[in-house]
Amino acid sequence: MQTLPEIWNMLQDVNDPEVPVLSVVDLGIIRDVKSDGKNVEVVITPTYSGCPAMNRIEWDIKAMLLENGFAGVKVTTVLSPAWTSDWMSEEGKQKLKAYGIAPPHPVLSVCDSRLFQEEQAVQCPQCGSYSTRLVSQFGSTACKALYQCNDCREPFDYFKCH
């Protein structure tokens, strides 16, 4: 019989298919896990409404738990409270940086709807410089913005605060 901490541990092996260095636990999208030992229910919340990875993540969670011997696996989606990048684990942020994606800043310090603002000092994950510029608020996926480093000139993704 698997205990709840063991199930949480197993979920560390399910990765975000679009940012494979992050597990679904690192990403902060697992909101709850309930189990009677035989059956398990995992409650998840989407990062962005249009994130095409959500269906895949749901299948991956189901497949992994069924392989680990659970008889019934249910994945439920909740929308409220809405996901925020503040739920990303510190470990997740370090993994992102090592992978070449600048991790999100804390939401309260930088997120608002003023025009033409740039988030202050997004650090280049390649050379460490803070002299970087926003190229586009929308990057390769909904959760990322596109930046370029003014020093090493490398373009990079910033996992934006949300």
Binding site: P46, Y48, S49, G50, C51, P52, V78, L79, S80, P81, A82, W83, S113, R114, L115, F116, V135, S136, Q137, F138, G139, S140, T141, A142, L146, H162
Partner: protein
């Protein structure tokens, strides 16, 4: 005037209205994918399209629980023009980049204030969808506001194009904040928001951005309406023909 009314439930009408707005604009924006003026903005408008289609899915999924035998897919793919309740603004052809970003700006400002209020809906599912979608609408509003200013305060060419877009689109903006009967009925029950009540905030946002973009609101104030009741322009049929073709030709097809 008799208005074609295929669905009986007021809540269902409202959910379809919210879903159809998001789906049809999402589809229009997706037409830019691969055709954007530069790669970064092609990606940006495609991401906005994804957010909108995602929001539409939440509303369709909820709506499907109110109509026996329906799913989010049948609601999107198997209803005909007269059953769609989106505002006329979202179904208009894309036009040039100026017209597309101006339309997105009008719509995002509307969504931003609407969802801000709908977060307090007495219906918990609607409140949750609004809470989630508001965060996305905020990005879309920022992006589209900046583009309106960039083009309006840009070259003579970009300013002229934006001006043309404005004179074409303005008459379709009134419908966003003119309540349909189902909105009024549900607003009484605190489930919906009467969109007339967000008009002042919406207008203030338009004024603020237009001032920086050197644009003036057209004096001719005639407004088109009908979309919320299922009376559409000729353009919606063409969208549905393309969007629904596969499910109509091969019912139940999956891949």
């Amino acid at each position: 005037m008799t208005i074609f009314q295929p669905s009986s439930s007021t809540l269902l009408d409202y959910l379809l209205h919210l879903a159809d707005n998001a789906l049809i604009l999402g589809h229009r924006n997706s037409e830019w994918t691969g055709h954007g003026p530069i790669l970064e903005q092609d990606i940006a408008i495609s991401n906005i399209a994804l957010d909108l289609v995602g929001q539409a899915r939440y509303f369709y999924q909820y709506a499907a629980t109110l109509r026996a035998g329906s799913t989010e897919d049948t609601l999107a793919y198997l209803r005909d023009v007269r059953e769609f309740k989106n505002c006329l603004l979202v179904e208009l052809q894309n036009g040039d980049w100026a017209a597309s970003v101006l339309r997105q700006f009008f719509f995002s400002a509307y969504q931003y204030f609407l969802f801000g209020q709908l977060q307090g809906s007495a219906d918990a599912t609607i409140a949750a969808i609004a809470e989630k979608s508001l965060k996305e609408a905020r990005y879309h509003l920022r992006w589209s506001s900046e583009w309106v200013i960039r083009l309006g305060d840009g070259t003579a060419e970009s300013h002229a194009r934006l001006g043309n877009a404005l004179s074409h689109l303005w008459m379709y903006t009134g419908e966003l904040t003119s309540p349909a009967e189902y909105e009024l009925r549900l607003a009484d029950k605190k489930i919906a928001v009467n969109p007339a009540l967000i008009r002042e905030n919406w207008m203030a946002r338009i004024d603020e951005v237009f001032e920086q973009a050197f644009l003036e609101i057209p004096v001719d104030s005639w407004m088109q309406s009908g979309g919320k009741q299922g009376q559409h322009t000729e353009h919606l049929g063409y969208i549905l023909a393309e969007m629904q073709y596969l499910q109509r030709a091969y019912p139940g097809c999956e891949w």
